[in-house]
Amino acid sequence: MHKKLEKLGLELPLLPTTSVGSYPKPPHLIEARRKFVAGRLDAKELPGLEEQATREWVALQEEVELDVFVDGEMYRGDMTTYFARNFEGFRISGLVRSFGNRYYRKPIIVGEVGWREPITVEWWKFTQELTRKPVKGVVTGPYTMMDWSFNEYYSTRREACLALAKALHEEVKALAKAGAKIIQVDEPAISARPEELPEFAIDAMRMVTRGVDAYFINHICYGAFEFIYPGMLELPVDNFDLEMSNSELDLIELFREHPFSKDLSFGVVDVHSHVVEDTTTVEQRIRRALEVLRPEQLWIDPDCGLKTRTRDETVSKLRAIVSATKKVRERLKVS
């Protein structure tokens, strides 16, 4: 797939390093968002703080020498709710528990879903202007938007999913038009009901990506891959971003059985652990992946978005990724 990247005018090293999407927000931004929610801060105050935080994360990504950047999502709360708030047809519910002490506001589809105007494009542009490294566009996928929303309007899950795909296609087109060459579609829920993958999830992804000239990454996290593999390879994307460090499933064994035909962004550090993996551990994980994948197929990144870690943990985890990747690159050169 490096060929497709070259055609798009992107030159990336072997084993490009990147991040999944979110970074931790600085405490003053969290506090400001809290005040805003409580009605004690004017909405106008937020963008400046979010831009400042984005600049800091761009600088940190430069410092750790990541190859492909993200904007860090300083302006997003929950990944589904953020898009739902900006689409037609949604209302936002009260707080729903996710696990332990974690809560989120779940969107409710109450009418026909529609795309009004670009949602993430200005943030993508803002970030790309700060760096020469390519910045990924990141959107939440139609299946996940459907599965993570209440549905009071459409009569089936399929209908809701395809309506969302149509709306997201507009966003993806707008990102590509602005210049985004790498676009990631986050689908952590894609394996929720495996039977729905051939029924409509693949169609939905086709609607999102059709006719858009970009290198598409599909990010999938916690889930049971064995139920949708190798069927998921039918999804019309170039790269799958899968978690490996937090998964008990031995995907490597799975890939031995059914060769992995796309590029793979290999999640090598656990975003839900405070413990920073040492370079050797990460290096071993990468070498493990190279047992079943060609180096040209492989990207290296964390398991998932890093927003639940501290700034220091995040930077250390990214450093571990970059230094382990560099070591593996050296070895590949030698051999």
């Binding site: 707080l95 696990f99 809560y103 209440f150 916690y222 889930g223 937090n246």
Partner: protein, 328 residues
Amino acid sequence: MMEILTASAGSYPRIGSRPEQQRHRQAYAQWERGELSDKGFERIQQEVTREVIDEQVHAGLDVVTDGQVRWYDSISHFARKLEGCEINGLLRFFDTNTYFRQPVVIGKIKRSEPILEEEFIFAKGVSPKPVKPVATGPYTLAKLSINRRGGDLASLVNEFAGVIAQETSALSKAGADLIQIDEPAILKSPKDFQMLEHAIEKIVAEKSGARLLVHTYFGDATPLYNKLVKLPVEVLGFDFTYSPKLPGTIGRLGCEKDLELGLIDGRNTRLENEREVLDVLKKILPNIGSKRVYLTPSCGLGEYLPWEIAFKKLQNVVAIAKKARELI
């Protein structure tokens, strides 16, 4: 004469959306940071349990639960108190939007301390209505665990069954009249039904006076209905949201056990209208020999609905049950 009652199917939201309804969440965070003592957090959990029970009573339910306010999730709440188990990372809970911490079995499973007893005794003490304790079933606990110690699934189920049997026995002695065992996992692996059957027999043998309720959800129970009605328990519970054919099947094959009918979708904010639910009840009620039928949401509401909607759903259960009584 059939009696139609209303009940909670399990968990209930701990917090609402307004700033003053955040107490449990804030206390939890403080406790995690070490700023609140175990005792202080326990006091908050007791207060919230009391409120959650009040909510259910206020909505008009005949049978309530403690809302599972203390549960991290329905799997690790048990596993973390067992010998032979460690707790691993997060995994999606069936096809829901919630996650649970997956147990890793590293040795022989043994119950080293009571799990639900204290929670039940507290709830019973503060509730004006009967409290139904809910335990996750041995098959589901075993199926959702990672087995690192070797041996087959059947022996793991059997060991978890020993634990849940001790739990049920203790709950029964503490005064529980009806005890619910949740077995959602069996719907995804019907071929393992015999394991579930043996496990339930083991629990029944030690349950003393309480009536036992086996509840399945997050899947279509229609293919297993024939087998479920033969389990040696007094009550069966069903989630109808996956099962367009289940009402017809129950109507056709009948049922002599009491039933818990999860006809109100516990995972969607849309409020059912009375008629759509009553139409389904018309297919079931005239054809069964059950003495008691409990109308419930399809599953616990604590992880799936915001507080505001959860209460409306329970009110809806109560309103529909009232209409259903006119049917019979």
